[in-house]
Symmetry: C2
Amino acid sequence: MADENQAERQKRKMQKLKEKVDQHIEACDQEKGVMILLTGDGKGKSSSAFGMVVRSLGYGYKVGVVQFIKGEQLSGEELYLRDHCPQVDFYQMGTGFTWDTQDRDADIAAAQTTWKVVEPMLSDPSYHLVIIDELTYMLSYKYLDESMVTKALSNRPPSQSVVVTGRGGGNSLKDIADTVSEIKDIKHAYQSNIKARKGVDY
Amino acid sequence: MADENQAERQKRKMQKLKEKVDQHIEACDQEKGVMILLTGDGKGKSSSAFGMVVRSLGYGYKVGVVQFIKGEQLSGEELYLRDHCPQVDFYQMGTGFTWDTQDRDADIAAAQTTWKVVEPMLSDPSYHLVIIDELTYMLSYKYLDESMVTKALSNRPPSQSVVVTGRGGGNSLKDIADTVSEIKDIKHAYQSNIKARKGVDY
């Protein structure tokens, strides 16, 4: 009997909550592309962006992916997109990045060349989704002009969604984003001397 | 001249940092599958899990995906996996979930049936990666026994990685996970009355 009452109470509580959420969903009447910023020091930023690529591909939408940092290591997402998704426009910053080269001038040139690939995507309404992976570092290192970047992001076609990833990113990116998630590192396998795992970390 | 000195200092600083990171990477000598918990109230948990699916598929690894919450809405990742990745073992909790039905008994039965799909994956070393999407709610609602779940997760084959998603999740999941990321909602398009976006949010 007590159990039954509890179940009833729980049911009423959940129904109330559901009504509230349904009302809010009803109120969401703006249909447009969104800008999402995935930041913070935890694992999951780039992988989340690639998950959204899968979502868009599920509906047959056109997707562009530009990665601003390319390590020496090949990655699973790179292999997958190249082998199975020729329809995705995929570009990686070609030359070694500062982390390996420590050559600021070469890095700036590479960042700017890569930006020239992103920029036309951000004015092409045929792209439903554009991923700009690790862009934030280009702003923190001042390899790219912040106002140039935020202007291009803000002026993109209204139907286009864009996902920007990377630690930090500064307030101007946060200001123009519709959704900002900060991915906090609570703990990481790396801290227990576990190697980065193929097919999981890269 | 001042600029040159600054560039030199920056270069030395970065080299030192790189040495430190390289040393730590060297120290990471444990090669094994990892358990990752993606929690928190922000956007990006499930999409991150699906990004890791793409990584594993890039290397041709076997992947299992089990989703504990299925809304009425079809999702892009569901469409994509069904149409393009028949090699992925993909299962969704079949009956409506509590959110729509408010029927606790039916929910418990559905959760337990779904667990019966996950369990064999967690003892099968042929799976390189297993995604258990939205599992945490099954624990918070006490639809599944926590110690049964953590035991199966802990006893999985050493080569297998597993990703668990969902808000909350409790300390015992956190304790056994190698990596825990908490995805914080800094802001969400939803709060500005922007509709969930096809190919991005679902």
